[in-house]
Structure formats: structure tokens, C-alpha cells
Amino acid sequence: MSEDFESGLRDLSTRAAQAHDAGAGLPLTAMVGRARRNRRARAAGVSLATVAAVVGVTLGGVAAMERLGDPAPVPPAVTPSPTAEPAGTVLTCGLAIADLAVFDDAPVTIEALLDDAVVAPGEPLTTRVTVAAVHPPGGDVGEDSLTLLTFAAVQDGVVVGLGLGTVNPGSTQGLSGRSGVTALSTIDLATCGEDGEAVSPLDVGGYQLYAGLTASFAGSGGEQRMLLGGPWPFTITDQPPTEEPAGPPALEDLVISTDGLGPLRLGDPVPTAPGLTDIIRWDDQACAGTDMPGRWVPVYGQVPVSGGYTWYPFSVGVSADGAIVRLEVDATGPHTAEGIGVGSSLDELRAAYPDAELLVGEYSTDAWGLRSGGAVISFEVAARDDVEWSPEELDHVVRVHVLPADTTWFSNWGWGELCG
């Protein structure tokens, strides 16, 4: 096989090169332009490559987000120097949002999903912030752009508090760093004092959270303007909750069965309108940069999963007509009625399900299955001493599938549903 195989590789490569030559070729001008913008942005300490001419991006005291794990103490929030930025281009105490010099046709969007919109005084807001390039025409969004975000608490359209964010780099999920980046951010909000300085804590009341990024962009005529995300309403209250707020069930409460996962059922349609108890939501930015319009993602955000990765606790496969056709659980928490889930040992699995059959054993996992009705639960167990498994993962469940029984695709470790 070897000579023939190597010959085949060379043939394929040659044909691909010829097919490439027959086409339009590489877009040299655009490529050089992107590289040039990257170099400029890098030189300016910014890797937001949609920025055509980064001019004096000044962070100000509240702008830089500390990275988790940094032993340096979090500095108090202060208002940026009024001489550092043109008026109306940074979020400052007393500023009217309507007066901001906002970039109308922004090449980048900022979105945030608050984990809890009701917090106690002094309690930070936890949110997943996504900075994404608009497609088309697209562009690059580097992880560093997250460190340039400012946060503001707004009442009646006026900034009344400022926020100092922290970003967890371990939770970032970019699209190869090209089109968007998401990070878990913890924001300590401080109220504005009379002298314009921010002091803490933010008072009890209802607010709107905004996030801003100041820079010059192509089309802004070289002027610095604000990219603004928000508003995202939140409330600070010192009253204990009188009743359990409605929301999605805890991951630990999701039960895996041949019917599905928690409220998600194989064959059922995905939710057509968001509800408080939905455990998935449509994310139209999740596949930015691909030809996919978006994907359904769990509302729980990203968590540590098997293999040492950070990813969503489960994935949902949806058919073209909107029906759930496959569910994959990658994190601990969800479990069967017998208590088996990711992290369970093979011994525990076999004890709970003596009739479980070995569906397929290849590559780096064995798939043990339970069939019932028209569906099957496949437990993927780290089965071989592959280099990717930690000692703790070996012989333990690393992924659980719920899928139609007529499929033959019971294991797919190393692969998974990300876009689509």
C-alpha cells in the first residue's frame, strides 16, 4: 500500500493545486490588507483586525479586564481622565447614552448574556460577553478585544455606575480567533460619586448594563467612536427572594433517558420562542464565519468537559425541519434515573445496567448501549490507554448520546456538533 498510498497523496495534492490554479487564486490584496491591519492593531496592543486604523485606543481606569488567576488585587473603579478620550467616546459617569458618538454601521457587535439579572448589593454580575465581527464582510476579532471592554450601569439613559470586569481566559471560545470570541466575565459595579469618581457598591435599584469598546474604525473618518452593546436590564436588591425565580433546571436535575434529556425530547421541535425554562437557545453568532446561520446552544454556558476541554455541557442535533434528532452530554451533572452519566465508571455503568450491550468498540472509546422503543442511549467509555485520556478518565463515561435506534453512529469521541 505504501508506494501506492503515497502516490495517491501526491496525486490528490497535485490535483488540488491544479484546481486552485484554475480558479481565482488567493486574494492577495485582501490578504495583505488583513495582515497589515493585524500588524497595526498588534502594534497598538489591539488585535481587533476589523479596525482599519486604531488611533489611541485608551483603556481608562475601568476598561481593562483582569484575568482570573492574576494575583494582582483588583483596583478600584475610577473614571477615565477626561483628557484621555474625546468627549462621548468612553463610558463615563454622568454621560448620557444618547450623547455617545456611536459607530452606526459597526463592524463588530457586542452581546452579553447575564447569568442572573437580580443580584444583591456588592454582588458582581456574571455574564458571558461575546464580541463578534459582522458577516459579511467579516473580519477578525482577537481575544484581546475583550480586555478593552468598558461596562456601565445606566438609569434613565445616564451612566450612574461603572464596572470593572474580569475575564476568564479558560472559558473563551473563539471561532479560531477569527470571527468572534466569548468569555465569562465577572463585573464589579461601582456607583458614581459627586466628583465623578466611582465608589462602591452600586445602590439598590433597576439598571441597564451597557458594554462599550472605543476605537477608530474604517468608515468613521478617523474619529474615535464607541461600539456599544446593550442594554441588558438587571436589578440590585437587598430583599431576599420571596419565591424561587423561574429559570432553567439545574444541570444536575436533567435526566437522561431514551426519550431525551430533561425537557428535550427526540423528535420534538426546538423551542420557537425563548422561555425562561428552556435549556437551549438559538445563537446566531455561534457559527459566524461559517456558512451556517447559527446553532442551538445550552443556556448553561461552557463548563469543563471530558478530555480537558471547556465546552457546552451538552449539544443538540437539529434536523433541517427543526426537530431534535440527537443529544450529546459531555459534562457531569445530567444522569440517567439510575445515576449514570459522564464521570461514572464502567463498573458503575455495568452494575446499573447489566444488560447494556457493547455497541461498538473502536478508536479510543467503547460505546455501551441501552435500547428502548425507538431510541438508544450510548455511553462512551474511555476504553484504551490513549494519549488523550487522563488516568481519571480511563474506564469512565466521557460522553452520553441519546439517538434514534436505527442509527449506527454510536460513538464519536473527538468529534461533535458545533455548528449546525
Binding site: 496525486d11 493545486a17 488567493l26 495582515a35
Partner: protein, 174 residues
Amino acid sequence: MAWDQQMERLARERGSALVGYAYLLTGELTAAQDLVQEALIQTFSRRRRDDVEFLEAYVRRAILNTYLNARRRRQRWGDVVHLVADADATAGPDAIVAVRADVHAALARLTPRERACVVLRHFEDLTVRDIAAHLDVSEGAVKRYLSDARRRLAPMLGAPDAADIDVNTEGARR
């Protein structure tokens, strides 16, 4: 020569070869072109020295890293289909595939790291040690990837013995 001139020259003179290399990793022409484009931009967004003779090597390394990183982060359902598709279904009407549908289908059955190891070993002609350095893994891991790849490829390509994909020798095969 200025960096942008170097970039244009490399893309113009070696772009086709780089796309051919990337195609072995992606199995799709457009994805290969995207990969090369991204790798060139990455390389020249950082490079400051005029080490022209190594530029293509840098770009090839960037192609490999971008491919593996992207595969880890952006797999789709559609990608998984390749794992279970048979040779006929994978071949399709693509004119590139038509020339060696068997090899194309065989590559499609490999995991990204296995595929990278096979391409580096049998197309780039690298030693196991060099592959390990490229992928930042141990030599043992590379041998394991190559061994697993051989096990999967053998039924499709009719390999009669274990020597077809060499996992143990230090030197290049050819």
C-alpha cells in the same frame, strides 16, 4: 524585500503547492484555500525578520496548527459523516477526488491528528521525531497515531501487512 512583497511573492509562487498540502488535511478545496489564506495572514501578521528561506516552512506549520485548532473547535455534524461514510459515498463528483477516491475516502476516516501525522509522514516525508516536534506531542504519541491510522486505513486500501505505514524508523522513508 518588504514583508508585504514577501507575502505576495510567496502566495503567488507557492500558493498552489500550499493549497495542495492543505487539501490533504481538509479534503475540501475551498477549506484548503481558506486554510492557506489564514495561515499566510497569521504568519505575516507577526513576522519581522527577513528569514525568507524559512517562510514557507512557517506557513506550513501555521496551516497545520490552524487546521488542528479549527478542527478541535469547529467540528460540524457534516464532518462526522465522513467518519461513517463509505468510500463510494465519500468520493462524490469532485474532480479532485475522482483521481484517487480511495485515498480521499481513507483520509476522511482518520481523526485530525491521525490525518496530520499521516500527511506529515507520507507526504512531507518527516521523521517521527520531527512530527512530534511539529505537533508538540511525544514520539510515542506519534507512533500511536500512525499505528491507529494504519489500522483504519488498511482495510480500505488493502494493506497486507503492518509495514505500510512506518511508525518506528527514525529516518525518512524515501
